[in-house]
Symmetry: C2
Subunit: 408 residues, 2 copies
């Protein structure tokens, strides 16, 4: 097992890019549940759509040949033998000289091969006078015109959106094979962390934020997530928790574990595993330097900083779209816009910084302003509209410079 | 009661714009459930954050005055009396000449008023030698620095996002008052419609698509939705179903009800209601002309076309963001892009058309192509990437023209 050196942001992104998929198996779910899931098999239509010849218009189903001589000054009379509404089963077949009324979407009677619109007819009792000739096929939607029976309507590997649900529903499909959603286990570590269940907070303790925020952030990517609890800064306890997490999930996400002054507890525990490949240990970014990304026994593991603001920043920048790729959810468009900096911004040389900023009006123009609290303050994230990237070698961004803001 | 004339798209959008909110009452839910919900009261912090004086760094808590003469060539020795990790409660207060080790985030012992970073110290047993003077307050985060107890941390009417969940969690809040989600009832009407539960389809029948697709589309806006079933084209049955829907929900969405050749069943039933205000009856658009929008007894009602492709188009163009506004969900950005038309597109004069299009590469450039099937085909929606708007008076858009594509 090897711990690597601190790497750059782009290298980390490349490493994440290289992990293409998780093998999660498949499951059979109802069409109501399948939105945003990924088909694990090709899906064939159960039926022809439409599965009967139907009318595209309100009008009269006729034998087209009966109308060939009809003109505005040469009406042809046909006998009306039936009225067929949408949903009705035609009861009579046409003979020459006969017609049936058909509503839009209604089934065409046997022997009919065209529909003449109501506008080109006059009625008197059961005599329909026709003023226009039509060619065979006019205004008839043939069987399978839209979808052929047993045609593949949705390919394996497709994200099911509303239109896909529509095509499945119209083909009479009630259940679909999809890939299972990846499962993540979430852990918070730190002796200082306390659940919101506990009303009275002792000195030294703080409420655990990551169990709430990261849990929802992971859920939003289409990955199932179990919060396994707050783990003490204790080697045995953390080892056992990670073992459980690896046993029960595809992805393990741990925040904290670096709060002991003497060193990182998370990395120490990871050293124990045989089949571990530590792909990233430290990224040259602020906030969030101590991030770890590893593969253990074909499972994926992240260790994120404990500060909620840092953990959520790392999640947005690196993990959000990575998890979406694994679950198949649509990727998040990192909406960005170039804007003017409204106030000098300072940064630390030697670290690529994701600086949270807020957008405020200044002289009628929206400009970028730094958030002055640090990553230890939860309000930093709360008041931020997005972030700007500051290069490793930059220490100052001057007022008036232009920067791209990535919005949360 | 008055039925209005067919109106233009922009007029319809203005009418929807003028409906600002539904009164839905409030409910008390857990922080885990509150994502994308809207606060119905101002929320105050239960605690100061931090609620104890804490260290921003790994270092030694000192009485700053003890360090005033320390320099690189004039070390000052202090006695180490305690080690305080994050989460620990300090056991000893400092006297002059003493210090305690404090990890990042750990509580500061009583009497300490500064933290000196480990880098500026040397240790020998319990003697810590300090090479730098610090001013009072250095590296200490004071009580309430981030959030003051009882300060309003989230205003009434705020959509709760991940950062809001973070600030609630850090303030020890477990439950929040939010507005109830609006409730919609969904109905499909048409004698031809059959549920996917039924495997064998008779001639004349088709599978109901709107119950699946519109249901999910409504859910995605943050509105709760009940599908009340497929209603026959029968006056009494439809009246009863609408009565039930009005009784049990804030919004009623009906698709179809216009399939009887003799006229619209939906509008006929609506005529019965006393407190009805029909705001829209027909919009000059293709597809979807027969759309109805009404207020009945302070409830909102839409009647959409029965064809799934038309119903979903209308939903995207008019209803999606309207429901999001009512539920408080973030509005959908109608992502659009100007592109070149790759093939002549025909349209009907006299109707504003939302023409579904697909984007295909042509000579190395992505261009707009019309979808050739009509709104009666479910595959029209399935193969479309988006739509373009075609003005009432345009009949042809030439190859090479530029148009804005709105992506689904």
């Amino acid at each position: 097992m090897k711990f690597l050196k601190t790497i750059k942001v782009e290298e980390f992104k490349d490493i994440l890019e290289s992990i293409s998929e998780l093998k999660t198996g498949e499951e059979y779910i109802t069409i109501e549940e399948c939105f945003n899931r990924i088909t694990s098999r090709d899906i064939q239509s159960r039926i022809d759509v439409p599965h009967f010849r139907k009318s595209r218009m309100d009008g009269f189903a006729v034998i087209a040949e009966d109308t060939f001589n009809a003109e505005e000054d040469n009406f042809i009379n046909l006998e009306l033998i039936e009225t067929i509404q949408a949903g009705d089963i035609p009861q009579k077949e046409l003979s020459s000289g006969q017609c049936s009324y058909v509503a839009t979407g209604a089934a065409i009677p046997e022997n009919a091969n065209g529909v003449i619109m109501v506008e080109f007819t006059e009625s008197q009792g059961n005599i329909i006078s026709i003023s226009k000739a039509i060619t065979p096929g006019t205004h008839i939607i043939e069987i399978g015109h839209d979808i052929k029976k047993e045609a593949i309507i949705v390919n394996k590997g497709t994200i099911i959106n509303l239109a896909t649900m529509g095509i499945l529903a119209s083909s009479g499909i009630k259940d679909v094979w999809v890939f299972k959603q990846p499962k993540a286990s979430l852990l918070s570590t730190g002796n200082e962390l306390i659940s919101q269940e506990i009303k009275t907070l002792e000195v030294g303790k703080i409420y655990d934020v990551n169990s709430i925020v990261l849990k929802k952030a992971i859920e939003n990517t289409g990955v199932l997530v179990d919060f396994l609890g707050i783990i003490k800064d204790d080697y045995e306890e953390l080892k056992k928790a990670i073992d459980d997490a690896l046993e029960n999930s595809d992805i393990v996400i741990l925040s904290g574990g670096t709060s002991k002054g003497e060193g990182d507890l998370g990395p120490k525990v990871l050293e124990e595993y045989d089949n571990i490949e530590i792909l990233v240990h430290g990224v040259k970014i602020k906030p969030g330097k101590p991030i770890i990304f590893a593969k253990i026994q074909n499972k994926i593991m992240f260790i994120l900083p404990g500060y909620p603001t840092s953990a959520l920043s790392c999640f947005y920048v690196f993990i959000d779209n990575f998890l979406r790729k694994l679950s198949g959810f649509p990727l998040k468009d990192n909406f960005s816009k170039e804007m003017e900096v409204g106030e000098r911004i300072y940064s630390t040389v030697g670290r690529h910084e994701f600086k949270t900023v807020k957008i405020q009006e200044d002289g009628g123009v929206n400009k970028i302003f730094p958030i002055k609290t640090g990553s230890e303050a939860i309000s930093t994230m709360f008041y931020a509209d997005g972030y700007i990237e500051i290069d490793e070698l930059e220490s100052i961004i001057e007022k008036g410079d232009k920067r791209k803001v990535y919005f949360f």
